[in-house]
Symmetry: C2
């Protein structure tokens, strides 16, 4: 079922900067479709040449690359409000794939019309660039984890980052828990660790009482120690654009 940008409930959350009527009108005209897919759907395939642009409306997904021999690296995780496919729209082919972790909905924008956005609504073009720069900063952060931190620190940093992102989206429950649809394979592929070692590391941190997991949710039990362990500190971000 179609969701009109005028009534978009996502945009209204306090995480996002408000838009003018004109901007919303333009986006509503630009939006080609509203897509619902199950977990494990490959929204964009690595190498795909005609990938459209999307905003993740609900659910979780991730961006990844695979090597010829099949090894997979998860580049970063996508949460509601994230803009998807800018690289694909700029280059001939998408250099990465995108796959859903949960049931997910997407707003679909035709790739042909990106240029019209730059031409006609500079404010939206600026926000697209902002989102691109923001995505890059998250990849930067992941690269720091994988390049500099050991297994325990990486797991801690990943969980803290996801928890912080959920906080800005008001997805944190009163008991400090967040939805957590990743399995250990995803975590391993995101952190550049083997599945077995990821498992043992998670078990160790859990035994240390840093966090707990149950029925698809993760509860932060000791953020202080986690932050010290991962050397990960970040303040509350200001409201961000949404396309």
């Amino acid at each position: 079922m179609r969701v009109r940008c005028f009534e978009c409930p996502l945009r209204r959350r306090r995480a996002f900067k408000p838009k003018t009527e004109t901007e919303v009108g333009f986006l509503d005209a630009l939006k080609r479709d509203h897509l619902s897919v199950p977990p494990g759907t490959e929204l964009i395939q690595q190498g795909q040449e005609d990938a459209d642009l999307y905003t993740l409306f609900s659910g979780w997904a991730f961006r990844f690359k695979t090597l010829p021999d099949g090894r997979r690296q998860i580049l970063h995780f996508l949460l509601p409000g994230d803009f998807i496919g800018l690289q694909g729209a700029m280059f001939d082919a998408s250099l990465h794939g995108v796959e859903t972790l949960t049931d997910a909905e997407f707003c679909v924008f035709p790739r042909r019309r990106v240029w019209s956005l730059f031409e006609q609504v500079p404010q939206l073009a600026f926000e697209v660039s902002w989102l691109g720069a923001h995505e890059e900063s998250m990849v930067d952060e992941n690269l720091v984890s994988v390049g500099l931190r050991n297994a325990g620190e990486r797991v801690a940093a990943l969980i803290l980052m996801l928890h912080r992102r959920c906080r800005t989206l008001d997805l944190v429950a009163p008991d400090n828990s967040i939805p957590f649809p990743l399995n250990q394979g995803h975590i391993a592929d995101a952190l550049g660790l083997s599945l077995v070692h990821t498992n043992k590391t998670i078990a160790r941190l859990r035994r240390l009482g840093l966090f707990a997991q149950s029925n698809g949710r993760l509860t932060l039990l000791n953020p202080k120690v986690m932050e010290r362990l991962a050397q990960y500190y970040e303040d509350e971000p200001a409201p961000r654009p949404i396309i």
Copy 2:
């Protein structure tokens, strides 16, 4: 000494897309300064709040982040034509530092005026976004290296990537050598390896006859084997924008 955009020799190289007179005129008006600095200069500091935007006009540099305890991760290397500081201009503070590897020159653009570029010259705004997306794709690639490849594969992939980038800039000499201002510390910090292990890995690949180094240059001796080792294959890129 000031270099006017009208006479910019860099832009004329075949690596870069041509610009209209209007675009060049706008950029020439936007350009505030032409900066020359020695090797090891910190052009942008991590956390700096008023960082301007730059185009690397000549020389090499790199973008990096450091953890509170001093460990440093190099995010990616900058070559002539690369656009610097978009993240810094979009956010309150720059989340990374930028440091030169060689004598280098930069075209300086005031951060206040980014918006005017989006507002007045959509084509340039589009190209700024293109460059941002392109930079992200390079960080993606590095993350794949650090997350998935072992030491030998990482070194091979890094050298192949730098060689390919030099090729597009016509920096490859007839003997297949490129300028190579990185020391082993930089390589280690870029690849997430210790200095000692980086040294031993480089020595091994050199003994295998894959490449050679002498007086600040690196010669690719066996690209085929390198590509197979690193599983790194990439075709010649199309001309790209330059700001």
